[in-house]
Amino acid sequence: MDSEHAPRVHLTIPASARYLRLARLTAAGLAGDLGYPVDAIEDLRIAVDELCAAIIDGVPGAASLELVYQELAGSLVVEGRCQTGHESSPELHGVARELLNMLADEYSIDTVDGARAFRLVKYPSPAGPSTPAGAPG
């Protein structure tokens, strides 16, 4: 699909662990539509969960987690952002890092313009996409 015309799905949820199910299920649903195999969807689900949990860690209850899901060059890209109200950088626990190294094809987590943010790319198969997910489609 041409990335210019690839649908973007926006999801905004309270920055609380109990709503992360919606983030996981949206990722799983979209990956299913893109024809991802079950194993890759399971990996994606866990990776989304870990990254979301990391950027909402310790933020005030009223904060929101904004997520954007998009297909780019055949791969699903998930971007998350949470305005924390303070400058602390998100930190990944060793277990989370191990999981992400295993399950995500590309990921980054950082503070951008005062907000914690992540970007996750999951290829449809271990062989990877035909073109890099960041490349124009």
């Binding site: 662990a17 299920l25 799983a28 079950v38 860690d57 060793g94 277990v95 999981l99």
Partner: protein, 259 residues
């Protein structure tokens, strides 16, 4: 940390994690049980699979086990984790021996889900809630929701292909294997079950069944192709059919077993 101390600490962490969903508690539970994973990794690493691969399987298994564990069951998490890790490692070895790896977990869960839903509905006199189904199955709510979504998406592709052999009218393989059609989920279930049971046979036995019942070849033709006598082939067929029947009985699909 001593075992009683670990057990106490684990129970406390579970109470905190299940109450708050805070990932720090889960991570600590995982760290506390790394040695359980390492025990099984050592045990299975002599089978020609790199220990790092096994370690990844074990880590994922512990993480999932934490989310599925029910503190109220009175079982120690270390016991639950041990059984789950060993089961997953066995499954990993079994799956690696297949040419094509089916989405076994999703299939199994979808089938269990339907049975559990019917049982609970009968027991409670109403349609069960997702949380109740998850508790009944020992699964997470996410997995139950996904299995509900995925229920109609599983494939029985090889059974839907036109049969070869003498049928020129393209009768589907499933028609022969299943003897009759049921509409909807029941049909999909049976295709999946038959497909899955066939996958458990060794390569030669599976080939014989495919030739005889999917391609409609005669015993004589198959004996020639496999390189055995017809009487020996007949004995193999009887044994394999009995084996399949037992497995289908185990799967509680008596009508298929009777075919």
């Amino acid at each position: 940390m001593t075992e009683p101390r670990r057990s106490e600490r684990t129970a406390e962490l579970f109470r905190q994690y299940q109450g708050s969903g805070d990932r720090h508690y889960r991570n600590e539970i995982v760290e506390l049980h790394r040695d359980v994973a390492e025990y099984y990794i050592k045990r299975y690493s002599r089978r020609g699979v790199p220990a790092d691969d096994l370690r990844q399987v074990a880590l994922l298994t512990i993480v999932r086990a934490v989310d599925r564990f029910d503190l109220e069951q009175g079982v120690e998490f270390s016991t639950f984790a041990s059984r789950t890790i060993e089961g997953e490692l066995k499954r990993y070895f079994r799956d690696k021996t297949w040419t094509v790896r089916p989405p076994r977990r999703a299939q199994e869960l979808h089938l269990s889900l339907r049975r559990a839903e019917e049982e609970l509905a009968q027991k409670m006199g109403r349609s069960p809630r997702v949380e109740e189904l998850a508790a009944e199955l020992g699964e997470t709510v996410d997995h139950v929701l996904e299995a509900m979504e995925a229920g109609v998406a599983h494939q029985g592709a090889s059974l839907d292909q036109p049969a070869g052999g003498n049928d020129a009218d393209g009768v589907a393989l499933a028609d022969r294997v299943l003897a009759h059609h049921d509409d909807g989920f029941a049909h999909v279930d049976r295709q999946l079950i038959v497909h899955e049971v066939l996958e458990t046979l060794d390569e030669r036995d599976r080939r014989i069944i495919e030739l005889r019942f999917f391609e409609n070849r005669t015993q004589e033709e198959i004996a020639d192709e496999i390189g055995v006598s017809q009487s020996y082939l007949s004995r193999i067929l009887r044994r394999v059919l009995l084996e399949l029947r037992t497995k289908l009985d185990d799967a509680d699909f008596d009508d298929i077993a009777a075919v």
